[in-house]
């Protein structure tokens, strides 16, 4: 394998993907953010502040452990789990919000805005803001506000204002539009904490860097516990932040197979899935060029996934770069397959995973089956499934499963 170039370049490009496709109003804020982030990244005291909060507040490092009974049922490779579900607030999202909230303080911004789908990123943002004393407003599609009442309450309890978005499809895409609109009028005192490796440069790079703590820990833990690197790493991909976080430190390790798992939904027809890397074409959404699900005229397509966190028509530009260079394989798991895997991890390992993570669990079983028992596959357990219990009951009952 040839070595990939350092990405992104100075124009925020991962190969041809990425860039800054936003109205001019946001450019000065993005340039300011890029400069502040470059300074912070080189500043040992900033790194120390991040590391301290990740240790004392988030609970890092998260465990890395063998899934004994899951490995048995695969009949192939050993399966190991990177336990981001055990991070504070129950998912990897907090790694990014802590980093960006600290950066916002360095920038002198006093107000934070964020978009959220299921509410995990909203909760993680509200949590970081409560901890650091920043005002917080979260945009959430009205449809998601209704479906995720528990997370709405958590955000409010943490002191955040939750704005229900009534435009468009009233889901994550529309919440992101609305957060960007807010930011266009509020850039002077407000920082926008994007929740995934999407958006205009420098967000995809910055979120990847903050999430890379997952992969750095996992790499070190593998060397320590296994005496070598794993043979494969598997993660689910919506916008792609947990996957980018665990993949990035392994990208230069040619022997480590990287597998991203998109939401296959109910099938391959347009509108039935949320898998832009499998079915999309290069296009612009929310500020960057990447694979996206669009109609032939360029209008953003409808998407579906049982998992709110994967229910997004776009994906981070670095994933598009990794797809086109062949460094990462991307596959899809359907709603049904994810539900099976949701039950499997609960029954075999005593871990109720997020429905997002369940997609990665399914793909891992496929990957592990074709491998030898001395080989190792790692799943990034990106979040816990408590938030999905009501949705899982509904879906399992609908297909006649007895629990």
């Amino acid at each position: 394998m040839t070595t990939l170039p350092q990405v992104p370049d100075t124009q925020g490009r991962f190969g041809k993907f990425g860039g800054r496709y936003v109205p001019e109003t946001l450019l000065s804020a993005l340039e300011q953010l890029e400069a502040a982030y470059a300074t912070a990244r080189a500043d040992a005291s900033f790194q120390r502040d991040v590391d301290t909060l990740l240790r004392d507040f988030v609970g890092r490092p998260t465990p890395f452990a063998k899934a004994e009974r899951l490995s048995e049922s695969s009949g192939g490779a050993q399966i190991w789990l990177k336990r981001e579900d055990l991070a504070h607030t129950g998912a990897h999202k907090i790694n990014n919000t802590i980093g960006q909230a600290l950066l916002a303080k360095r920038l002198g911004k006093t107000r934070i805005i964020a978009e959220t789908g299921a509410g995990q990123h909203g909760v993680a943002t509200a949590t970081a803001c409560a901890r650091l004393g920043l005002r917080c407003e979260v945009y959430m599609g009205a449809e998601d506000v209704r479906r995720q009442a528990l997370n709405v309450f958590r955000m409010r309890l943490l002191g955040a204002k939750v704005n229900a978005v009534e435009t468009g499809s009233r889901t994550l895409k529309d919440a992101t539009n609305e957060a960007m609109r807010d930011w266009m009028g509020s850039v002077a005192d407000t920082h926008y904490i994007i929740g995934s490796v999407v958006g205009p440069h420098p967000f995809p790079m910055m979120v990847r860097d903050f999430q890379s703590v997952i992969g750095r820990e996992c790499r070190a833990q593998s060397l320590e516990r296994l005496g070598r690197l794993p043979d494969a790493v598997v993660a689910c991909v919506g916008g792609g932040s947990n996957a980018a976080g665990i993949f990035f430190p392994f990208v230069g390790d040619a022997g480590v197979r990287l597998v991203g798992v998109e939401a296959g939904g109910r099938g391959n027809a347009p509108g039935e899935h949320a898998a832009p890397l499998a079915f999309g074409t290069p296009g612009v959404l929310h500020g960057s060029l990447s694979y996206v699900l669009q109609d032939p005229a360029g209008q953003t397509a409808d998407v579906h996934s049982c998992s709110a966190g994967l229910d997004y028509p776009g994906v981070g530009p670095e994933h598009s770069f990794w797809k086109d260079t062949g460094r990462v394989e991307y596959v899809a798991a359907t709603d049904e397959q994810a539900l099976d895997a949701f039950r499997l991890l609960a029954e075999r390992e005593g871990i109720i995973p997020a429905l997002e993570t369940s997609h990665a669990v399914h793909a891992t079983m496929q990957v592990a089956r074709g491998m030898r028992p001395d080989q190792v596959v790692v799943i990034n357990v990106s979040g816990r499934g408590d938030k999905d219990v009501n949705e899982a009951i509904r879906l399992l009952e609908a297909r006649g499963d007895r629990v």
Binding site: G19, P23, E24, N177, P282, V284, L289, G298, T300
Partner: protein, 286 residues
């Protein structure tokens, strides 16, 4: 249609002559329009409409009425599903148009039909998402073929806009980049280098939509004037005759969008053109 575009008192208010740029014949329509206005010490009203709202059939009559009322250039918004620079009025108008099946190709076909019936400049406002999906510079060429005199891509990436700008140059149509109050001088210099025909100045931070307070554009206009002799058009939050007057005291054109789009959408669907004309006349009253 030889009557003056503005009442005399209005012309007096805006009668600031500017140096005429060097010209190359034959001149494109946008250049010609601004040259004629400047020669007469006048300013342009640039109304914005969403193609397909309230209906696409209303577009030719609406444009004719705007021209009759004294508008110089119309901006025609091509509906997009996720217009992040737009406030609720324009975003909802675009969603309604999309629900009626108003695709970019439908808009281009309609403009091709109506082109001969209006003398006004026609400038497309279109998201980079549509432009990129439709072939990038090939879409700019398609706009020119349909009869558009210019294009604004409000979310273009300046670092990647070269091919689009080059195609606009090849077809001799206007290509306007946005300049914001937050743009640095160095950034403004780069932006205006990628403009032809005119420059689009944002009157304020934030999104499109009606505002009460008059826009403060003097300092931004001065900063952009220092970098270019191109005509300057100002938009975002311009919704009254007083706003138009305030803008035209400094810039070459005032762009009025949301308040017009709202008026066209509300009320009798058979009187859309009448409302367009009446509102344009109201905006031009001092």
């Amino acid at each position: 249609m030889s009557r003056t575009l503005y009442p005399l008192s209005y012309q007096a208010a805006c009668a600031k002559r500017l140096p005429r740029p060097a010209t190359i014949a034959p001149m494109s329509r946008i250049d010609q329009i601004f040259q004629d206005l400047r020669a007469n010490g006048r300013k342009a009203l640039m109304p914005f409409v969403v193609a397909g709202d309230p209906t696409l059939d209303a577009l030719p009559g609406t444009l004719a009425a705007l021209e009759q009322a004294g508008a110089s250039i119309a901006e025609i918004g091509i509906p997009f599903s996720d217009p992040i620079a737009d406030g609720p009025v324009i975003a909802e108008a675009m969603h309604r148009a999309l629900q009626r099946g108003v695709s970019p190709s439908v808009v281009l076909a309609r403009v091709r039909e109506l082109r001969a019936s209006v003398r006004m400049g026609l400038v497309a406002m279109v998201s980079v998402s549509i432009v990129e999906r439709s072939g990038g510079s090939a879409f700019i060429a398609a706009l020119a073929d349909a009869g558009f005199d210019g294009v604004i891509v409000p979310d273009a990436d300046l670092d990647a806009v070269g091919p689009l700008h080059a195609e606009a140059e090849r077809r001799d149509i206007a290509f306007a980049m946005l300049v914001a109050p937050t743009s640095t001088d160095a950034r403004i210099e780069r932006l205006v280098r990628h403009c032809r025909g005119f420059v689009y100045l944002l009157a304020r931070a934030g999104i499109t939509g009606e505002r009460q307070d008059a826009p403060q554009v003097e300092s931004l206009v001065r900063r952009v004037r220092a970098k270019t002799s191109l005509p300057l058009a100002v938009g975002f939050g311009i919704s009254t005759a007083a706003h138009v007057k305030a803008v035209c005291a400094h810039a070459d054109a005032a762009i009025v969008g949301s308040s017009l789009v709202r008026r066209l959408a509300e009320g009798d669907a058979h009187a859309v053109a009448d409302r367009a004309g009446a509102y344009a006349r109201e905006l031009l009253r001092v």
